[in-house]
Point group: C2
Chain length 360, copies 2
Amino acid sequence: MTAQESRCGHPADSASPTVQNLGEFGLIDRIRNLFPQSPSSVVVGIGDDVAVLRTTSGRLLLATCDCQIEGVHFTLPTVPGRVLGRRAAAVNLSDMAAVGGTPLWALVSLMAPERTEVALVEEIYRGFGETLSRFGAALVGGNTARHPERLVVDVTLLGEVDPDRVILRSGARPGDLIVVTGTLGGSRAGLDCLKGDVSGVDETVRTAAIQRHWEPEPRLREGWILAASGWVHAMIDVSDGLMGDLGHLCRASGVGAVLYADALPVDPACEAIAQAADQDPLEWALYGGEDYELLAAVDPGGFPEIREALEDAGGAPCRVIGRVVATEEGLRCLRPDGTVFAGPHGAWDHFQKEGKNPSG
Amino acid sequence: MTAQESRCGHPADSASPTVQNLGEFGLIDRIRNLFPQSPSSVVVGIGDDVAVLRTTSGRLLLATCDCQIEGVHFTLPTVPGRVLGRRAAAVNLSDMAAVGGTPLWALVSLMAPERTEVALVEEIYRGFGETLSRFGAALVGGNTARHPERLVVDVTLLGEVDPDRVILRSGARPGDLIVVTGTLGGSRAGLDCLKGDVSGVDETVRTAAIQRHWEPEPRLREGWILAASGWVHAMIDVSDGLMGDLGHLCRASGVGAVLYADALPVDPACEAIAQAADQDPLEWALYGGEDYELLAAVDPGGFPEIREALEDAGGAPCRVIGRVVATEEGLRCLRPDGTVFAGPHGAWDHFQKEGKNPSG
């Protein structure tokens, strides 16, 4: 094995691989393997975005965490503190939405250099509280610690869901429709704008894409409607990229999936910016990540009802983008002519795709 | 105001103070002030080590978080991964012990550079799981993210407690005895050994102090016994230092306290190492921090019963070290001759006491 292979490959038997060798999901598998048994209170444990826990109340407790690291997820002062706080709340609320849950309480673990201005910290918490309270949740505690060089906002969000309303990743069945809310690729386009890679784009479009990147709208209302409909078999939020998250859902459900390229709701800003950057907007929609839309496997009989319910509630529209197939058929995205769209990238991986991280 | 004052002082009216200006507890006050109202489900919220939350089950949900940052709380490879994992669990379990709670579920947010060896990560999780499972709790999820230069292990621990068993910081009354479990100052002595500041100390003593620093024993059993006794009015764990945590308890309860210097259970290793380092062991016991013992305000009538119950259960012994007084009397530690022991340091503060951080 060459040094290059060792750094970028997945050596199964290397004496001491690094987390980059293994990648985020390989690492999570290793961690899960260390804990082969869970207490009976754990409905969904290690490896999922949300832990689902049985309590004595009969309701299920939900717990999720996600962090924003300066220089990895954001740079200062590019993003205002208030927006950073909102984003830290939104990405966690999105995980809650994906199981049909109700967010209740949040803890923030703040790490900051001594030189950090208190005003910035206050703005972060203000923004965090604003987004939480829009969805009925509240900050209830956390921790503060000195970090030598970076600001880190690590959030744990707790919520609840009725056992007959919870939607997991694992229930998709062949024949289900694959449905997604809102649009895709907008966050990736915003990231390109932040990096300064794009020129010749209308300012309104640019602003919309950046807004899409920094302030994703958690689809909580949509999650409740989907979960309550009784027609949704599996659900996940699109954080790692459509193909990546669909892959997680398929693996958990033991199924495959076919997507129709011409059915994907590509964000208009993504279309414009990708073209200006001489990139394929479809690729950004499939692999870009951080759109925080909901991706669901839906019983075909229930789709019209779901679409109407979302419309009636003024929620994000949803669209059929593919269907669930047998696991042997794998995971593909087909162009209208029947050829397979083969993007050069895989799903977002925290330890392997440094080039896709924001640095703008 | 000079530049020096601006960096080290507490300027109340500075236009843009830093978190170091304000200090950890000043910062937490600011954050708390941003959220003047809490939902009725929040029994104890921002500013405490543990959030206490009302659920539909009738039991209270407990949530606490605490992080270990490379270069701040530990250095590699000085501390083995397994021990680091155990410590990350123990410091959170200690917060749970302080309210008389039962730990149930933990989430770990791991941040790591790409070059981190998977074997190290596995050792951290192994150690973490070992300590959790000793107390009946389990790892149920979390997050992994790339960190450019440091390993960070940020833990959220969830637990439960019966409403009639929960002990808060805020119930101490004048006349209560101040009781502490185990010994004090050992962790601070271990830190000095790790820094290499100490010579001429017996190797056994040195090892005991370092063990005391890296592997604090969460006093969960002791916490349950104390909470169940019905004689404990307020409790906290000693993480910021005895004087610091007693200060938190006194402020929350609206009382003062007098400690008796000759009654403090100074750790034997602390005695030996402080003397070798030409330091005052009493100062380390009062201000050292990270001993993770329990500090309780106890009804005088119940102390003999509590002492016996701890003894019967094979728990850490407890000792009376002072008494609760009126708030006007403040917080003092008296020497046997009646003079006030005045240590040069305050409580541990993450943003102001960099000199006391581990670097060994």
